[in-house]
C-alpha cells in the first residue's frame, strides 16, 4: 500500500470552519486598521505601513495563542472537540498571517536600504548585549520558520510519509515556535509600546495557554484512574464519510484504520486486507460487505469476518460519535470480534 497524495478533502464542516476563521481574521485586521491610529502616541505617530505590520503581527500572535489553547481545552471539555478538528487549517492560516506581517516589516524597515532586505534584516542590528534594542527580529524569523515548516508538512501525505510518531514530534516544535514568538514580541513591540494594552494581552495570552496545558496535564492521571481517559482519536466529522465508503485514519503507531459508513451506521476495521494487505479503506461496501479494491475479498462490517465459506478475519475497533465527530478507540479488538455499528445521528 502506498502513501497516495490526495488534495485536501473538503467537506461542509471544513468549509464553515475556514470561512469563520477567514472572517474573524478579516474583521480583526479591519478593526485594528481603523482603531489603531486613534491610540498612537503623539510623539511617535505611525504611518499606514507600521499599523498594517502591527495589525498582522498581533493577529498572528493571537491566532498562535488560540491554537495552543485548543488541545488542552478539548482534553478538559469534550465540547471543544470540534475546534480540534481542522486545527491544521488554523495553523496554515496563522502561518499566512505571520508571513504577511513579516513581509510588511521588510517593506517598512528596509525599503530604502542599499542592501538586499534579507541581508539588511540579518546584519542590520547586532546589539546582542542589551535588552532594549536587542535584535528581536531573529526570534520572529525563528517563529516564522517553524510555522512554515509545520504548514508545509500539515497535509496527511506527510503524516503518512513521516509516520505519526515522527510527524507528532516534528509538530511539537510549535512550542519552541511559540517561545520564539513571545521573545520576539517581548523584546520588540513590548519595548516600544506606549500603551499598556499590548503588555496586558501578551501576559494574559501566555498565562492562559500555560494554565490550560498545566490543568490538562494535571487532569490526565485522575481521568486515567477513572477509566475516562482512554485515548480516543478524533477521526473527523461523521458527515465527511460518504455512504458505502470509508475514511482512513492512523493510530499513533502508524497503523491505518478504515471507518466505513453503511446505511447511516459506522464500523471500523483494520485498513489492511487479510489477503495481501490491500487498502480496504479505498474499497466500497458491496452487498453489506467491505470489499477490497485489489482482489474483491469481502468482510462483514459488524465483526470483520469474511462471509462463509471464507475464514479471513480483521481486527475491529470501537467507535463513538460525539457532537457530530467520530471518535476511534485505537486499541484493536482481536480479529473477528463483533462490535455493534454506531448510528451516525
Amino acid at each position: 500500500m502506498s502513501a497516495r497524495y490526495v488534495p485536501v478533502g473538503w467537506n461542509a464542516t471544513k468549509i464553515v470552519y475556514d470561512l469563520v476563521l477567514l472572517a474573524a481574521i478579516g474583521i480583526y485586521v479591519a478593526v485594528f486598521l481603523r482603531l489603531a491610529p486613534r491610540f498612537q502616541h503623539v510623539t511617535l505617530p505611525l504611518d499606514d505601513y507600521a499599523i498594517r505590520m502591527a495589525a498582522f503581527g498581533t493577529c498572528a500572535f493571537l491566532l498562535l495563542t488560540l491554537i495552543l489553547c485548543i488541545g488542552p481545552l478539548a482534553r478538559l471539555d469534550r465540547r471543544f472537540l470540534p475546534l480540534l478538528y481542522n486545527r491544521r487549517h488554523f495553523g496554515v492560516l496563522t502561518c499566512a498571517v505571520a508571513a504577511t506581517h513579516a513581509s510588511a516589516a521588510l517593506d517598512w524597515y528596509f525599503a530604502y536600504s542599499p542592501l538586499d532586505p534579507f541581508v539588511a534584516l540579518l546584519s542590520g542590528n547586532t546589539s546582542f548585549g542589551r535588552v532594549h534594542g536587542f535584535p528581536f527580529e531573529l526570534f520572529g524569523i525563528a517563529a516564522l520558520l517553524v510555522l512554515l515548516l509545520l504548514a508545509a508538512t500539515s497535509h496527511d501525505f506527510w503524516l503518512s510519509f513521516l509516520t505519526p510518531p515522527v510527524w507528532k514530534a516534528l509538530h511539537m516544535s510549535l512550542y519552541g515556535g511559540y517561545l520564539a514568538a513571545v521573545l520576539h514580541v517581548s523584546l520588540g513591540a513590548l519595548q516600544e509600546a506606549r500603551n499598556p494594552l499590548l503588555g496586558v494581552v501578551v501576559m494574559l495570552g501566555v498565562g492562559v495557554v500555560a494554565a490550560l496545558h498545566l490543568a490538562a496535564a494535571r487532569q490526565e492521571p485522575a481521568a486515567a484512574a477513572r477509566g475516562e481517559n482512554s485515548p480516543w482519536l478524533v477521526a473527523g466529522p461523521a458527515a465527511a464519510i460518504p455512504e458505502g465508503q470509508a475514511i482512513v485514519v492512523h493510530r499513533a503507531d502508524g497503523e491505518p484504520v478504515a471507518i466505513f459508513r453503511y446505511q447511516d451506521r459506522l464500523s471500523a476495521v483494520s485498513n489492511l486486507c487479510a489477503h495481501q494487505n490491500g487498502p480496504l479503506g479505498e474499497g466500497q461496501v458491496v452487498n453489506g460487505c467491505i470489499t477490497c479494491p485489489w482482489h474483491g475479498f469481502q468482510y462483514r462490517l459488524e465483526d470483520g469476518c469474511a462471509p462463509p465459506p471464507y475464514t479471513e478475519k480483521l481486527p475491529t475497533y470501537r467507535l463513538r460519535v460525539e457532537h457530530g465527530l467520530v471518535l476511534l478507540d485505537p486499541n484493536p479488538n482481536p480479529p473477528g470480534t463483533r462490535v455493534e455499528p454506531v448510528a451516525v445521528s
Binding site: 503623539v42 510623539t43 511617535l44 505617530p45 535588552v131 532594549h132 510518531p165 507528532k168 514530534a169 511539537m172 512550542y175 511559540y178 517561545l179 513571545v182 521573545l183 517581548s186 523584546l187 513590548l190 519595548q191 503588555g199 501578551v202 501576559m203 501566555v206 498565562g207 495557554v209 500555560a210 494554565a211 496545558h213 498545566l214 496535564a217 490526565e220 485515548p231 499513533a252 503507531d253
Partner: protein, 47 residues
C-alpha cells in the same frame, strides 16, 4: 508511544509555564523608563 508523547508534552509545558510568563514580565520590567525619543519638532504654525 502515546504515553511517552504525553510525558514529553507535560515536561515541556512545565518548563514553558515558568519560562513564558517570566520572559514577558522580565521584558516589561527592563523596559526603558522615561522618554527615549525627542518629541516631534513642529516647524510650522498650527494648521
Amino acid at each position: 508511544m502515546r504515553r511517552r508523547h504525553r510525558a514529553a508534552h507535560r515536561a515541556i509545558w512545565l518548563v514553558l509555564a515558568v519560562l513564558l510568563p517570566a520572559t514577558v514580565l522580565l521584558a516589561l520590567a527592563l523596559r526603558p523608563s522615561g522618554p527615549v525619543e525627542a518629541p516631534a519638532i513642529r516647524l510650522g504654525p498650527e494648521p
